[in-house]
Symmetry: C2
Subunit: 213 residues, 2 copies
């Protein structure tokens, strides 16, 4: 089919799909997933509904592609969990990693708002939940491996359940994300204090890390 006859106007399909998806995510960040319709996405992308329909035959397919895009971005961030910068004490490295996962500036807050929208939809749509759950499992594995490594080099007090610890840390991260998104002013000192407490809980260090007040 592709090789016979003339080759008409050729267009990078993947690029177009990403373009439309970016428009969808902008709408989601601004007004939530409920504001996403084929028409609003087309308007945001600066094209017609027919163009959107060409690359996403149905709205569900479009949403699934957007979900996979968001999950992929999150997966990329999670990959950096493995290790903090070498030569850094483990508590500091862990703290830095966790702070990087939190929506502490406007850009990451926008991303978190998108993430939360899909996250909430997963509470009703099991096929969304499956994708997200797999990502969470991956994150837990990375964190657990980091704990195991830290223990092996003597930077982490031995004898702890790394899996439960990783799950707890990720749970705290989830809760913190929602808490930050819910507060109008953004991040508060309690949020940072919670990260410090989580790090202290894992590493078992005794002193408090001087919160700026």
């Amino acid at each position: 089919m592709r090789d016979t006859g003339g080759v008409p106007k050729v267009v990078d399909h993947d690029e177009r799909r990403r373009h439309v998806t970016a428009a969808l995510l902008r709408i989601t960040e601004r007004e939530g997933l409920e504001a996403v319709s084929v028409r609003t996405v087309a308007a945001e992308a600066g094209c017609s509904v027919g163009a959107v329909q060409r690359y996403f035959s149905t709205k569900d397919e479009m949403l699934h592609f957007a979900l996979r895009t968001v999950v992929e971005a999150e997966r990329e961030r999670i990959r950096h969990i493995r290790l903090g910068p070498a030569g850094m004490p483990f508590p500091d490295a862990l703290r830095a990693t966790l702070l990087e996962l939190l929506p502490l500036d406007a850009r990451r807050e926008g991303e978190a708002r998108i993430w939360a929208a899909f996250y909430a939809r997963a509470a009703v749509h099991p096929e969304f939940a499956a994708v997200i759950d797999e990502l969470n499992r991956e994150a837990r594995g990375n964190l657990r491996a980091a704990f195991a490594y830290a223990e092996s080099v003597g930077e982490l007090r031995p004898g702890q359940d790394h899996d439960a610890l990783a799950q707890l840390v990720l749970t705290i991260m989830d809760g913190l994300m929602w808490s930050i998104l819910m507060r109008p002013g953004g991040v508060h000192r309690d949020h940072l204090a919670a990260v410090d407490t989580a790090v202290r809980l894992v590493t078992g260090s005794a002193s408090s890390p001087a919160p700026p007040s």
Copy 2:
């Protein structure tokens, strides 16, 4: 108005509003807030659209009433945070309280699903977030007071930031709720382990002391 002239068919307005709201919440639990429309609510409540419109002149008002209903139910549950049963060791009382807040059976899972739906909507609608934030503030206050009392009677290691501690515990509860809702099988051992770890973190019980540092 009410005293003049004849008094025709009289119905309990509040009862009707609660009836309609209950139908709305059933739909929300089953299919999420996006499935809530005036028509679906009327059908679930077993009446016509006009009847719903009589008691809720607009859909927003209906949703707001439902939100306040849900928040009120949650407020009733967090009122029990103040103190566990007297004569119970503080760690056990705290653990029991936290376990009661978690959706560990089908009934509470349904309630949590409703709660999560409104929670997610609050991430986009600030007027929802304000109500929920106030409730969270209240819960934090109760928890903080419980910590202060426990410290005063010598059941809690002194010198901790009760407010930050309470915020952290509530954050863990939020994260756990989402985690439980997301997993298909319901509650896992990691969730209960997270509660134990949180209790241990707060009470500083002796199972994990002595950092070499």
